[in-house]
Each structure stands twice: as structure tokens, then as C-alpha cells.
């Protein structure tokens, strides 16, 4: 664990992950747990983003783009599940919740962290490659939301 602490201590100096302490970093036990958490967060983000888009038309094209990326990711995760013989859990209902840009940013950050922290639990190079590429898309979405917060308006 010394190596992991050293690595995290240094990398957590970066602004994006400043809110994460070593104690907060989640240790996933299996690929199934990682994929289930990504499914949950992704579904919630899509639903809340759709609510934001209904309020702010300027957010609609972003919401469509994110949803298209996530549909592609879901198909790839489905293939991963089959290859890794991971059972699909029952769908989780999306909780009611705020659709403010800040709430979306927090959710998008959780989704990115689930990918990052989940990679070591996958134990499969192809799965790491797939979810890392998804994480790149999700990190881009997160960056867009962060920029919206800086300009205080969707599409800004």
C-alpha cells in the first residue's frame, strides 16, 4: 500500500481530484461491482441531464451527445459482461434529484472516478482498455460541465 499512498498523495494534488482523500478512494472487489456502479451513475447522469435540457434548450445538444456516447458505452459493457461472465444486476431506479449544473458536475465526477478507481479491479487488459476509453469520453463531458460552471450557463 505504500506505493499506492505515494502515488495518490502526489496525484491528488491535481485540482480535479482534490476532493478525494485516500480514505474516500473506493476499492472495488470485482469487475461486476465496477460495471454495476458505472451503470447506476451513468443512468442517473443521463436522466438528470435530460431534465436540464428540458429547462435549458442550450444544453440539449450536449445531452444528446452524452446520451449517444453512453449508449455506445452500455453496448460495450454488455459485451464485456458476457466475455467476463459477469451477471447483469436488475436495473436501479433513477432517484429524483436536482438537475443543476453543479449537481450534474458532481455526478459526472463520480462517474469518472468510478472508472478510474475501478480499473485495477478488472484484472483483464482488454476490459481496462475499453473502460479507460469510456473514461476519456466521460472526462470530456465532465470538463464541459466544469466550463459551464465557470461561465455559469449551459452552453457558455
Amino acid at each position: 500500500m505504500i506505493a499506492r499512498r505515494t502515488a495518490l498523495k502526489t496525484v491528488l494534488a491535481a485540482p480535479l481530484v482534490a476532493g478525494v482523500s485516500r480514505a474516500d478512494a473506493r476499492d472495488y472487489a470485482s469487475a461486476g461491482e465496477v460495471i454495476a456502479e458505472i451503470d447506476r451513475l451513468e443512468g442517473e447522469l443521463d436522466a438528470r441531464l435530460a431534465r436540464l435540457a428540458a429547462t435549458f434548450p442550450a444544453a440539449a445538444s450536449f445531452a444528446r451527445s452524452v446520451r449517444a456516447d453512453h449508449e455506445r458505452h452500455r453496448r460495450a459493457r454488455g459485451a464485456l459482461r458476457r466475455r467476463l461472465r459477469v451477471a447483469e444486476p436488475p436495473p436501479v431506479p433513477v432517484p429524483a434529484g436536482g438537475a443543476s449544473v453543479d449537481a450534474l458536475r458532481a455526478l459526472a465526477q463520480d462517474l469518472v472516478h468510478a472508472h478510474a478507481e475501478g480499473l485495477p479491479a478488472l484484472r483483464d487488459a482488454q476490459a481496462v482498455d475499453t473502460l479507460a476509453r469510456h473514461m476519456v469520453d466521460d472526462a470530456r463531458h465532465l470538463a464541459v460541465l466544469q466550463m459551464w460552471l465557470e461561465t455559469e450557463q449551459p452552453g457558455g
Binding site: A7, L8, T10, L119, P120, A139, R140
Partner: protein
Amino acid sequence: MGESRRAFLLATARAAGVSAPVLGLLAGREAAARSEGRDLEILSAALLLEHHAIALYGHGLKRSLFPPGLRAYATEFRGDHQGHRDTQIAIIEERGAAAPAARDDYDFGHAPAGDAFVRLALEIEIAAQRAYTGLISAIRTDDYLLSAAFILVDEVRHMTVWQRVLGLRIY
């Protein structure tokens, strides 16, 4: 990866001083066998890209080549790269190896000012993002895999901000 994108990535990695085995990995010529030695090769390559980025941002900030309204981003991103550099060095040294130093012959003498310089910063961010994305599945150790993932997230943020600044499509 398309040929032009691969050529761009290889050219940037070569300019940063990345070693032949990792260039082979990035070019898709070598199988991504996972081993402690391969981790060290990837760490060294990533560190050289971080050195290159720090030097470019440092040059741009020192010579005021970034547009005035973007200096805060440039300063923040240089700080991120310095954090990434320190992470890579700590991991390399923890494994008992010597971390490669920054080159002393970076040549940014003809770097233009303004948006053209932002474009240079974008190019190194794109190269770093592609390198980390391409190499991450070859990493064997959990600690380094986790660190590389968080570093990759930062690179994507940098890339997306510069693309937005330059009016390029981000979604």
C-alpha cells in the same frame, strides 16, 4: 488509430525522448505484455511527456505567449503536469529505478504567440492523452494503473479546455 494520428503521436513522443520499445507499443508494433519492466518503460515514457509539457508551458508563461486571458489556465495546467511528473518520479524511484531527467535541448525558440501557441499546448495534451490511453492496459501494477487513470483524466480536461478556447468541437 488512423495513420496520421499515429504519426503525430509518434512524432511528439519521439521529440519528448520516449524510448524505442514504448514507441513500438504506441505504433502497435509490439505486443502489450504486462511486466514490471514494461511498467517502468511506460512510466519513463510518460515522465518524458510530462517534462516536455512542463517545458512548453514554462516557456509560454515566461515569454507571455499565451493570450492574457488564458494565463490562469496555463498556470493551472503546468501545475498539474508538475504533479504528474512528481507522481511518476515517486513511483519509478519506489521501484528502485532511476527516473529520466528532462531533456536540456527543447527548442521552442520559434514558438508563435497567441492562439498559435495555445495550439502547440493542445498538441502536447492530445499526445499525452493518446499515449496514456494507448498504454494504460499494458500497466501491470494497481498503484500505477490508478495513478495513470487520474492523470489521464487531467489530460482530457486540459485538451478539452484548449479545444474550446480554439473554437474546436468538444461534443
